[in-house]
């Protein structure tokens, strides 16, 4: 007696399709997602002296260094009456969010192979858990940023006129998150197959830092070479982030649209490729 068509609940075949996104299944694993987020926090801060304070330690040290090197030694003009600490801290916090999510996402297959090869669950859970973890870390850093901002406003007489751009902040964060996740995922698939490309990823991220307005504002870039920085889809997002928080940044609709379209395209590509290749990669790693 063979299985009647009606009763078949699942089918495993050799095909791997691009459009095989089982949302219902994904949702049914949301507990796993939350546990994975919790796990990340637990394992990072268990048996440490400062615990979650480390999340703040890194951007503080980086900011102090940047202020010293770029502001005092080199003398990068950040324009306006912006306190350098605020300028650099803002950039660093957002950069960390991008950088950490991207690096973690690009290592997904490598770091989770031992689980992927032993048990089935929707693989997309892992990148989603990762981006949520990184976002929570970002929120902690953002909290410190707001405290510093408040300090400068109250005690140093720094004036910010909050504009409607502030409302765009959640959009910026969402797009930066999606951009880091999707590009990270794309690289995770490629590097799983061709190991040596991990070196390339490390170099890429270092170069990217210098063509992103983290340590300088877009306005300070010479007009002749500005296109290099503008080619980077992160540029409008960083500018908009500073514009919203500190009231200083250069933004244009075409540039912002470019960033958004770039992100959507890479997100689309990443999810499709992840679906298509996710099941096959197990064979090559």
């Amino acid at each position: 007696m063979s299985l009647s068509e009606k009763k078949v609940k699942w089918v495993i075949d050799s095909k791997s399709s691009y459009f095989d996104l089982n949302i219902k299944e994904l949702v049914s694993y949301h507990h796993l997602l939350l546990r994975l987020v919790k796990k990340e926090f637990l394992i990072n801060y268990q048996q440490t002296l400062l615990g979650p304070l480390w999340v703040l330690f890194q951007p503080i040290v980086t900011t102090v260094t940047y202020v010293f090197v770029f502001n005092n030694v080199i003398g990068v003009s950040i324009g306006g009456n912006l306190p350098p600490v605020l300028f650099y801290f803002t950039g660093i916090v957002l950069w960390n969010f991008f950088n950490d999510s991207f690096s973690a996402a690009s290592k997904i297959f490598r770091d989770n192979m031992h689980i992927f090869s032993k048990v089935y669950f929707p693989r997309l859970i892992v990148p989603f858990a990762l981006i949520i973890t990184q976002f929570l870390r970002f929120l902690i850093q953002l909290g410190l940023l707001i405290i510093i901002l408040a300090y400068f406003m109250i005690f140093e007489g720094f004036k910010v006129t909050f504009t409607w751009y502030l409302v765009a902040l959640p959009l910026v964060l969402f797009i930066v998150g999606m951009l880091s996740l999707s590009t990270g995922l794309l690289f995770s698939i490629v590097t799983a197959k061709y190991r040596d490309l991990t070196n390339f990823v490390d170099i890429l991220i270092r170069v990217l830092l210098f063509i992103t307005p983290v340590i300088y504002p877009l306005a300070a870039v010479k007009p002749q070479i500005r296109w290099v920085v503008q080619l980077n889809p992160l540029t409008p997002l960083f500018e908009l982030f500073r514009l919203g928080l500190l009231g200083q940044g250069t933004i244009s609709i075409p540039l912002l649209s470019y960033g958004i379209i770039f992100t959507l395209a890479s997100l689309f590509a990443a999810i499709l490729l992840f679906n298509k290749q996710g099941g096959k990669l197990i064979d090559v790693i």
């Binding site: 299985l3 609940k9 090869s117």
Partner: protein
């Protein structure tokens, strides 16, 4: 008749051997160009059964089809590299088949190792949750079963200790406790018995028997312990180099498998006297082990008496000869040295035999050497390792699966009686 819950249709799985992927980015691009852009056949791979025998390709599974019925316990057997794990991984949705189809109904949980998803830094409690979710349990399921899991593993004192501080025994117990409390419709288990001590193995098997026999769930079970397969499973499937050899009633399949894998050298004979092993005094014509077994295809197990037969040419007249049979384990340990009484023989062919009784040796691999002595102590010829055989385990109704201790397993009679009925 029970309903079919899993239907495997013509599953094949091909691995490309050698380097990662097909080798390099350049070749992959070349490959992609040919197959996807100009629509020629993949130069590095041809699918289907007409694929050429290629050095690059390993057929981990080749055209496997079978069905599993509701409540069935199916044992999957085969030597290492026969494709057992690949088959389980395909049904567990971890790897994709190269071709073919698996259709099924009901929730599948697979235990391909114990401790999947465990993280050493996390506490026992935290790991129960994360491992449970990873294996597809729901929140209410875990909460409902939490106390049972803790009980079963016996780690309640260490629930909030990071598991990296656990002993390996505790770790394995906790890991198994989680998987033992899964409630899938179909449970897939790969060789979990390989870990842990005898006590743990007993617990695992007991739990698995409950799952299949009491709770009526479907179980797919890979193991090297034939005794366990025989006791747990209704049906068995035998894979050999990716091909399905037999599928059917468990003990029949297991027997066929065992008799095929037993490596033995039961018989050697030489017709030409010049080429026969020996020296100018003694040359062997024939050595042979004849199992006293009714079914010639059945496996040699510990119950079978073995008759050792030998024939040799003696080139000396009026010589006092004694024959010794030496039985060794594969580890080289001598189990016995059985000497015949001395007697006088003349030139010519000498024949003899000696029987090792059934229910005497333990299961394992053995080899036999024959020595011919003159005047009880002068070695004329030592025919080393001339025969070898494997004995399979057989325990009948004894439901214990650990390795039976000892080089021999004799059945000396006991006499036991109760002498009093009070405790003073």
């Amino acid at each position: 008749m029970a309903e079919t819950v899993i239907e495997v249709q013509n599953i094949s799985k091909v691995y490309k051997l050698g380097q990662i992927g097909s080798g390099s980015l350049r070749r992959d691009l070349n490959n992609w160009w040919k197959t996807s852009v100009i629509k020629k056949d993949d130069p590095y791979f041809l699918s289907g059964n007409n694929a050429p025998a290629s050095d690059y390709h390993l057929w981990a599974l080749k055209d496997i089809s079978f069905e599993v019925k509701q409540g069935d316990a199916l044992g999957i057997i085969g030597s290492n590299g026969s494709g057992k794990s690949t088959l389980l991984k395909i049904i567990s949705r971890i790897v994709k088949p190269t071709s073919g189809l698996v259709r099924g109904t009901g929730k599948v949980s697979s235990i391909l190792e114990v401790g999947t998803g465990f993280h050493p830094e996390l506490t026992g409690r935290e790991n129960i949750y994360i491992s449970g979710y990873t294996l597809g349990m729901t929140k209410s399921e875990i909460q409902r079963k939490f106390d049972e899991i803790v009980d079963f593993s016996g780690i309640e004192k260490f629930l909030d200790t990071p598991i990296k501080r656990y002993s390996s025994g505790m770790y394995v117990r906790l890991a198994f406790a989680v998987v033992a409390h899964l409630e899938p419709d179909i449970l897939i288990v790969d060789e979990v018995l390989a870990v842990g001590d005898a006590d743990f193995q007993k617990k695992c098997l007991g739990k698995m028997r409950d799952v299949s026999q009491k709770e009526g769930r479907t179980v797919l079970f890979v193991s090297h312990f034939m005794q366990a397969i025989n006791n747990l499973c209704v049906n068995a499937l035998w894979l050999k180099q990716g091909q399905l050899m037999e599928f059917g009633e468990c003990s029949a399949v297991v027997n066929k498998y065992l008799s095929s894998v037993q490596k033995f050298n039961l018989k050697q004979s030489w017709d030409n006297i010049e080429e026969a092993p020996g020296n100018e005094l003694i040359r062997f014509k024939k050595v042979e082990i004849v199992p006293q077994i009714e079914n010639a295809d059945g496996p040699l197990d510990i119950r079978v008496p073995l008759t050792i037969k030998f024939k040799f040419w003696n080139f000396t007249d009026d010589v006092s000869l004694a024959i010794g049979l030496h039985l060794f384990t594969y580890g080289g340990e001598c189990i016995f040295d059985n000497q015949s009484p001395s007697a006088y023989y003349n030139k010519g062919l000498i024949e003899g035999e000696c029987t090792i009784p059934g229910n005497f040796l333990n299961d394992g691999s053995y080899f036999i050497s024959i020595i011919v002595n003159r005047d009880t102590s002068i070695e004329l010829f030592y025919f080393e390792e001339c025969m070898s055989f494997d004995l399979e385990d057989y325990r009948g109704e004894i439901k214990w699966y650990g390795k039976w201790m000892g080089a021999v397993r004799p059945r000396f009679p006991f006499h036991i009686e109760q002498t009093t009925f009070n405790l003073e």
